[in-house]
């Protein structure tokens, strides 16, 4: 998918993804995402949807983004390991959070 290609930014990386799982960023997928983002301690990770940007390490932030199935979000990371952070988050979103 061309949308989710990880790109370089000024001081990090970014990628656009479409939420594909049926529930959207419901509590369980949101908490999976927060846990993963929090692993990149040296990195600032944000999600942006419709111009609203939130900290990806905040469960409240992610849930308040209210990203439903089909919505497009921008994942950005700055700092050490930003390429890694973006690509692993993209992979998680695209896997549909293991939803069946």
């Amino acid at each position: 998918m061309t949308l989710s290609k990880v790109q370089n930014t000024d001081c990090g990386h970014c990628a656009r993804v479409v939420i594909c799982n049926g529930l959207g960023l419901h509590l369980r997928p949101a908490s999976q995402l927060v846990k993963l983002a929090s692993k990149f301690e040296q990195c600032e990770v944000t999600l942006t949807k419709n111009g609203q940007t939130i900290n990806a390490k905040s469960i409240m932030g992610v849930i308040m983004l209210a990203a439903e199935q089909g919505s497009e979000i921008l994942i950005e990371a700055r700092g050490d390991g930003s390429a890694d952070a973006v690509s692993s988050l993209v992979a998680m979103v695209e896997s549909g959070f293991g939803e069946t």
Binding site: G22, H26, L27, R28, K57, S58, I59, M60, I63, E99
Partner: protein
Amino acid sequence: MTGEPSTTNAWHGIPVSPGIQIGKLYIYDPAQTTISRRFIRRDEIELEKSRLADALGKARESLLELRQKVLQSLDEAHASIFDPQLMLLDDPLLLSRTNERIEEQQQNAAMAFMSVIQQFADQFASLTTDSYIAGRKVDIMDLGKRVSQLLASSDPELKTLQFTEDVIVLASDMSPSDTAQMDHQHVKGFATELGGPTSHSAILAKALEIPAVVGLGRVLHEARQGQLAIIDGYEGQIIVDPDSRELARAKSRRRRHLVYERELQKLRTLPAETVDGFRVELSANVELPIEIPHVLAHGAEGVGLFRTEFQYMDRAGLPTEEDLFSVYRKVVESVSPHPVIFRTIDLGGDKLSTNLAPTREVNPFMGLRAIRLCLAHPGVFKTQIRALLRASAYGRARIMFPMISSVREVMQAKAILEEICEDLRREGLPFDEDIQIGIMIEIPSAAVCADTLAREVDFFSIGTNDLIQYTLAVDRGNEQVASLYDPFHPAILRLIRTTIDAAHREGIWVGLCGEVAANPLCALLLVGLGINELSMGALAIPEIKRLIRGIRLADARRITEEIYSLRTSSDIHAYVREAYRGIQRQRRKSPIVGTS
């Protein structure tokens, strides 16, 4: 039992745990919890920030401790109710926003924290129509209260849930951690404005055997802290500031109930057998594993209906086979050597918190639910059947399919079951090869075709709650027609007779697991029809056992035969009531604990 007192200081709710207690009210209103809000000086900012960090750390410790406690006494499913709060505690946004308020607006930590929590909770609740997410508002508020209590722990003004005298707790609702932290020594009753029979406080009260009434409606603002009150867990009533007449009545009722219950307890180990030797198995309906010790203590000879839905509700995603297996295994082991009938998922897809039911149904009661949902989504069903079969190796499990309307559905469900048995054999996993498979008879078509269904299964369980609703086309929840809901309707009694007779002709046993099992007059008729098992709320077991031990099968049969010539339910009801009184008069002198 007796007439309602004509007082305006009485509130009625749902009785969830029996008993009568008199005590001082403790009104527990988290919204009113005194938070020492104040603005601070510039030089206090750092101190407040470190007090906040400290309180957050302590809150995490206490949550982990609570989680551990619940895990040890219950299971992972219950313990995980604390997880959303733990995750919130680690939210960087929570910390940064609170610190912002401390620094910029010079609010003290408690005030800043509660403001942020309130904002979060409001946003959360308004964000979505998804009840699972919206319901987490309770978790956020619970967390807010926990942390602000820690922040103010040095403040002697702040109320905690520790008591020095006996109290009746009156609350809007109780969160899981409120209930778990409650000082059980002094809490003699629970009463809540919200909540139903399966709310946390209801279940805990039942397990602790203290009276509880839920669903009282608006009462908190009508009562005052420390007022005397009577809680009546039989009638589901709370009387605030009772007069001397009401107090005397409560005391004498309490004495009578205690004597009566002590009598009934003596029946615990005796069988439910008529005077002329007809044996009925009395078992219990169970919602949550935590109820099992309580159920056995009331003399249940097994679980006649284990509702498996709780593991699917109020959670995100579906439970895994291991989640299910560990609970089923525990249940089977704790009830052993008695049997447990597990009813497979009896829900509509909307309750499953997955996307199994993408469309809203206009009439969910007649929609894709229970066995229909399971056959349409065999993956979910197979996981449950595997877990059930694996658990059957550890005691006596039985499997029951709900909402069967035709033989075809039974054959489909059995084919899936057989397939899984084959898998387990191949994998070398043990299970009970002779496990009994049964169905609920709760749809009129199943009762009518009971003869052909009986050839497919090992037992029937008549689910009267739904059978009555479907047969009479009455929604019990609709108060405009609720009065038409009637277990004594001739059509219901005919369907029940058809079902029992068909089962016996095919050599299988029949139970009944609706509310009518706990109704003495219905139980009398069912015995007369030759029912083999009655499953009910555990509290009713001693009473029904007493009834069965006091009658002859021959008398019950005679009464039952008579009712089929009567035309209206009121005639039937009156006839059975009179006939039963006659039996009681005859046997008045005989003790309830007879040696028959």
